[in-house]
């Protein structure tokens, strides 16, 4: 009997795997994009992050008696910009509504948001799939709203502190259709959106500071089944990794429940990163009735065609367009184009380096994706902080292209540029790294090398071809790597035959 055990175990595992495959996850994301306006959405107070508590909260943000909201036009422009970038409909008339609930960091006892009539409706975003190909993800809506403040539960000896600096910060809540079918797809969508909002310069994308955060709606259903399963909502996921892990945990949890004959409870859940699990926050029965109604302090937001056209004129080249252009204009591979357009700064860097490289497009792509990103990553720097500018890198690549230096020497030069020793030409000059292309000089070195190694010459001529590399190495060593490798090869061949 014992002998059978391992077999039955693996059979069961297989069976579990098969039934898991029977379930299809259905995921929709609500992403809160903090808009990069200088002042708040309904007041003139600053939105800068990190000020001492409650120093950036004016009478309006504090919800003092008698104060009134006034809409920040810059926030509206950013919302419209986003809508145009995802090919959505910009509502000619949208309405701000009050979402009523009590919480100490919600000063007015209601949040001003948009409910029935949002400013952006019906857009889409294309994501690349890991298994190849791409998929369009629907964007149901995007609406403007104000952020709440923060409750601080530590350092107050059993009491809570409230910081209202964040209260009134403008948010664009982007709601996707339930078009995502795996945690990976959800992350791909979230990353794509993250790239887009930074391209549009409407959000700094800083996830640690909460400028870009996500709620995930997750359900599962039998494959082939049309109607959706009961969903849960996982709140406040502020990193790509947490989104993936929380969704995967939740999918497994729901399948376990359904496999066990139970049913999923519609509820809001919190993801605990330390334990890598989600746990209930409040159920549908406890769900708050927000008593939405149009905010009588704000008129409906009416957007004229002229306004929308003016915003359209400010749209930059979008990531997808840029990627396509990189493929046909520079002849890059889809993968290279994808990496190099991941951020607007990186794409701009590549284009500037390519210009300075004097047409060495492939080499530039190779250097940016390899040595540059590697060095930045190692140093924990953003592209904007790179000690090697695009012009400097392009200048270096130009010198590889015109045979002034070899690719190997170039790595030395790059290192020196990184250390702040100046541009490539200066370093090449100062260190005497210029490649030797004088045939007579190379020949002279070859003669010396061959003379110093008569035994190896003998062996080579006797048919030991592998020794050719040895001679190249000796010549390069003798020239400190400066000899033109192609010339060395050709001349050696001639001398050894």
């Amino acid at each position: 009997m014992n002998v059978c055990r391992p077999d039955s175990m693996s059979l069961r595992k297989l069976w579990v795997k098969v039934t898991r495959m029977d379930w299809e996850p259905v995921i929709g994301l609500e992403i809160h994009v903090q808009l990069a306006t200088r002042s708040k959405i309904f007041s003139g107070a600053s939105t800068a992050y990190g000020a001492p508590p409650n120093t950036q909260a004016c009478a309006v943000d504090l919800g003092l008696p008698g104060v009134l909201p006034v809409l920040n036009e810059a926030a509206v422009r950013m919302a419209v910009k986003f809508g145009l970038a995802v090919q959505a409909r910009i509502a000619p008339r949208s309405v701000f509504a009050r979402k009523n609930y009590f919480y100490p960091d919600l000063p007015k006892g209601y949040q001003i948001s948009q409910y029935e009539l949002p400013v952006v409706e019906g857009g889409r975003l294309e994501i690349s799939l890991e298994e190849g190909g791409s998929k369009l993800i629907g964007i149901t809506r995007a609406h403007l709203e104000e952020d709440a403040g923060k409750s601080l539960h530590e350092d107050f000896h059993g009491l809570s502190g409230i910081d209202l600096n964040r209260a009134g910060t403008p948010l664009l809540e982007v709601v996707s259709e339930p078009d995502l079918r795996s945690a990976r797809e959800a992350v791909a969508y979230m990353k794509k959106l993250h790239t887009l909002v930074r391209y549009l310069e409407i959000c700094d994308g800083n996830m640690q500071e909460g400028s870009f955060r996500c709620d995930a709606n997750v359900s599962v259903r039998r494959r082939g089944q049309h109607e959706l399963g009961t969903r849960t909502e996982i709140k406040n996921l502020n990193s790509f990794r947490f989104v993936e892990r929380a969704i995967n945990y939740e999918i497994e949890r729901q399948i376990d429940i359904l496999e066990g004959g139970g049913s999923v409870v519609q509820e809001t859940r919190l993801y605990d990163a330390a334990r890598d699990e989600t746990r209930p926050m409040r159920s549908k029965e406890e769900a708050l009735d927000y008593r939405y109604f149009p905010d009588p302090d704000l008129l409906p937001l009416v957007l004229e065609e002229d306004f929308i056209a003016a915003v359209r004129a400010t749209l930059p080249e979008l990531p997808d367009e840029k990627r396509e252009r990189f493929i046909y204009e520079f002849g890059l591979s889809p993968y290279e184009a994808e990496v190099l357009t991941a951020s607007r700064e990186l794409a701009d860097y590549f284009e500037a380096a390519e210009r300075a490289s004097d047409g060495e497009t492939k080499l530039t792509a190779h250097w940016v994706m390899g040595d540059l990103l590697g060095a930045l990553n190692k140093a924990g720097l953003e592209i904007a902080d790179s000690p090697v500018t695009a012009e400097m890198l392009g200048g270096l690549i130009r010198r590889i292209g015109d045979n002034t230096i070899s690719g190997k020497i170039a790595k030395q030069v790059f290192e020196a540029m990184w250390q702040g020793e100046g541009d490539a030409d200066a370093i090449i000059e100062r260190r005497g790294l210029k490649q030797v292309t004088d045939s007579a000089a190379i020949e002279k070195v070859i003669d010396e090398v061959l003379a110093a190694h008569p035994a190896q010459v003998e062996q080579y001529r006797a048919g030991k071809d592998k020794l050719f590399g040895f001679f190249v190495g000796q010549v390069m060593k003798a020239t400190q790597g400066k000899a033109n490798p192609a010339q060395v090869n050709a001349l050696l061949k001639k001398k050894l035959t």
Binding site: A59, L62, G63, L64, P65, G66, V67, L68, P69, V70, L71, R98, N100, F102, P104, P107, K108, G109, Y110, I162, D289, R291, Y292, F293, P296, D297, L298, L299
Partner: protein, 497 residues
Amino acid sequence: MTDLHRASLTQLSAALAAGECSSVELTRLFLGRIQRLDDRLNSFISVCAEQALDEAHAADRRRAAGEAGPLTGIPLAHKDIFCTDGVRTSCGSRMLDNFVAPYDATVVSRLKAAGAVMLGKTNMDEFAMGSSNETSYYGAVRNPWDPARVPGGSSGGSAAAVAARLVPAATGTDTGGSIRQPAALCGLTGLKPTYGRVSRYGMIAFASSLDQGGPLCQSAADAALLLQAMAGFDERDSTSIDHPVPDYSAMLDAPLSGLKIGLPREYFGAGLDPAVGERVDQAVRVYETLGARVREISLPNTTLAVPTYYVVAPAECSSNLSRYDGVRFGYRCEDPEDLMDLYKRSRGEGFGAEVKRRIMVGTYVLSAGYYDAYYLKAQKLRQLISDDFRRAFETVDLIAGPTSPSVAFPLGARLEDPIQMYLSDIYTIAANLAGLPALSLPCGFVDGLPVGLQLIGDYFTEDRLLNAAHRYQQETDWHERVPPGFDESSQAVGEGD
């Protein structure tokens, strides 16, 4: 000038300009009257004697420097709903008994800039919710014409104080009749401007889509002077309207020949005290002698106004009053056990019965499942009521009728019967729902108690309303009557006490 206390704002402005008196003298005179006489009325919540005298000195200096305007040095009082920098702004509630506003309402700062002197803050129904000034945390206000009767509400303190000549004029606010009904019950001229004419910034919100500030004065000419300073666009109030402010005083004497006045038959039916109706009829006859053409009209949806109002106003107030939670300012209960306890007891102890009733009604009508049946339905009815007026103004210039169905009623008479109390505003509420300007002026007495005539105009016809009221006041002297017991010269009263 021994009778300065009886003088109108217009007369005082002239006396100051002619150097017949100083602002300091006037300020002392009225502060003295408040001190001696207000025990009988309870019309002030706060008196700012020291600050007022400082302002009066400043006004006199300004006049000496040749920089005085028509209101420079004129003593005024503000309803305690307007935020005043450094002075308690209670809104008639225990909730804000300890609240000292850190800023001035726009109305306050405009009148301050015009050089007016603020004597103090007047009593009012709690959060402006009431028609008798009996819901104030600071106690009921008495009607100077009969101290056993109510002055009307919610601007009852302002009305009683002006009627008793404790102050030449005062500000008020009108959500469903809160300027006009107390004006009628106290024998004053009170104007509710077009919604959006006067900034609501710093005016503590009751029902945001209905609230409007305006003057409570002895005459239309005084109201014109005061409104001139109060009206105008304010970028801090998104619902204020950028519409030119005409010279209201310049329009006062325009002839009324050919003026078309409509009498809505629905305003003269059951529920109207016949004696009140008779005074109104007499006033209409005066207009006929002035050349106006009078005809009967119909406002068929009149009966819907009160029920519509008691859905819309509570809905908005339930949300507007959420900010009074004991967290940041205002009343906080002793030793809260936890957050829920803090909320429940702070609000339970801080608000009075009428406010709580309206918060509960408002919360109910906005709740999931009831929103369509109540709130949405009420919005539709509101449109029908506005349409009634739009049609009426196609054929008439002004609408005339009673302001209130009865004269001032005894204190306590309607306290236990909210419906009866709400019906006090049956003729005034429709103008708020439609956003139209409306004015009440005294048109006689019944049993020694004043009767008010209401004039309703089309949008932004405050000039026309004031003109019509002024011409009537040139033919009559109801507005010059002073309640017995408050009519003696200040010296005689002083000796009598």
